[in-house]
Symmetry: C2
């Protein structure tokens, strides 16, 4: 992804909310990455304490966290996300140190942000920002999260082009008054699949560091690109239903699901742990339901018969960001084999 | 609930997986509770370290955790859940200290456990257990979790009666050879609504300590019984969609939902924080979607207009066990008012 950003002359500011790990952050640093994105003030604090000093908190600024925001702004190059005049007003009265500001733009996901075609609102907020000495306009950014709701690579590319097009149009409207403004994009499906980023200045994907079953179902990665699995002990088997019960539930995997081609809800795919990592997802085998600590795997006979109580199976998560957040710890394959849990 | 257990001459062994808090555990202790249920070895370790010495881990024993299980068994009165001959076999070879054993029985939920009418399998496992000096048969237990899948109080009571009936029938079949065996039940919907527990010996509900929106939708509690709310800062408003964006997402609330009478998916109800706690759920106002850190509230005009960026709203969780697990910390109303977050 760093190479892709380079080739497309994009500033690369990967999102660290997926891994939330200082150690994995070092892998990025060894690729020359210096700027990062996070989704909360506490995450920014964690990475700042681990030597990152150019951090964008890509979440509408929570004005109730002014104290830790000020501490960060005093110590690192901090960027905040703003989408309302109220927030700017509050920052103007309470922020004592310089921060960069990205305007959050809604290009069709409709989760949050200013409508991309609402130029007058954008200008109003920018005018307000201009008057505050501590606030420096960095750019406009979007999360085209509606790329997760479609079912074909073509549709993802359409959303990418449409979303980026809206930001470029907005930038052009603003460029006379605000010549330095940058355009920042970066949902993982678009970042993985698109080849044309003309007009964008910055790329902020996060999930690609691990990928997951959702990205695989979207066509944004291959199964063998999924780089994280939850190691789950097998605690029971039920032959009458071809079901395997694992110690691995909502508190470990979270509750996201995808629907497979047979219309079944899938809460995870299943792999066997090997000395070199893990194999391909097991044929026609999937996590069919989850409760707090239990996971239920449906498996055809040959898979069912090859797994015993006391084995450990790997679950490829539907949404790796959430599973990593819950697991809190990682083992590399080597560490895993040494510890064998 | 303790009173109810008392009146019905039931041994009360509340499930502590909902609150997972030593401090809240003390409230139970002050009601005279001495025995508890948990759902993992680590939870058992936590409560054992906090002075609880009669703990049932109501989850199919994970034989890969033999070391911490042995440590617990050495120090407290520990009970394990067993449902397979493999597990008994493993315990017989590896367990050095005495434990009590409950057999996990499936009375219709079909998550895990031995089918209630599979008497020969139950007897086979009991015979195996008998031969192991360290394993002492405590009882048979079920979690009638299918009481969460129905839509009327009557249906919940039917499941309670059916489920308890199956356990009693099984106990009667076993009582000549195993006269001391106890019958243990206790999903929160049944425990809250049923009045007849004849034949049961032990009650193990957990969720009732907080209740939640799911229990309210099931008819197992009233909205004012819900004793926990997630305090969420408001970070943006979108008048064109009557949507309020909060800092509160899947990593805080988890992703359970209920469907309301209008067919809408509800991920939480919304309350205003007051000096005495919080008020009723706001009229026609609900969390309509969640992503990693964002929550979206749909609200009618009068509610929408009464909430501003920078306010804190309370979200009544759909599934309080999961939300409490994610929040990790509690504030009482007094502490909350002092800190104002």
């Amino acid at each position: 992804m760093a190479d892709k950003a380079n080739k497309n002359r994009l500033q690369f500011r990967p999102h660290f909310k997926t891994h939330q790990s200082a150690e994995i952050g070092e892998w990025f640093r060894s690729c020359g990455i210096k700027m990062i994105t996070v989704s909360s003030v506490s995450m920014a604090g964690y990475f700042a304490a681990n030597g990152w000093n150019d951090i964008f908190i890509a979440f509408p600024v929570n004005i109730l966290e002014m104290e830790p925001i000020s501490t960060l702004a005093e110590n690192i190059k901090l960027h905040l996300a703003v989408e309302s005049e109220e927030a700017v007003e509050y920052l103007s009265q309470n922020l004592k140190f310089n921060v960069g500001v990205y305007l959050k733009i809604d290009t069709g996901y409709h989760r949050t942000g200013i409508q991309a075609d609402d130029v007058s609102r954008v200008e109003k907020i920018l005018q307000k920002i201009e008057k505050v000495p501590n606030l420096n306009i960095t750019g406009i950014f979007t999360h085209a999260g509606h790329s997760y709701d479609v079912t074909s690579v073509n549709d993802i590319l359409k959303i990418h082009n449409d979303s980026l097009g809206k930001l470029i149009k907005l930038k052009n409207r603003l460029s006379r008054k605000y010549p330095g403004i940058i355009v920042s994009v970066g949902d993982t499906p678009s970042s993985s699949l698109a080849t044309d980023f003309t007009g964008a200045d910055e790329l902020r994907p996060g999930n690609f560091v691990f990928y997951d079953v959702m990205q695989y179902f979207l066509g944004a990665c291959k199964p063998e690109d999924i780089a994280v699995a939850l190691a789950c002990p097998v605690v029971a088997k039920h032959k009458e239903r071809n079901e395997i019960v694992i110690y691995g539930g909502v508190v470990h995997l979270s509750l996201d699901s995808v629907t497979d081609t047979k219309g079944r809800k899938v809460y995870g795919l299943v792999v066997k742990m090997t000395e070199n990592g893990w194999g391909k997802p097991l044929n026609d085998t999937f996590v069919s339901s989850l409760s707090q600590e239990h996971g239920i795997i449906k498996a055809p006979d040959e898979v069912f018969n090859s797994i015993e109580v006391g084995d450990i199976v790997g679950i490829l998560p539907i949404h790796s960001c959430l599973t990593a957040n819950l697991a809190k710890e990682y083992y590399t394959i080597d560490e895993y084999l040494i510890k064998k849990l």
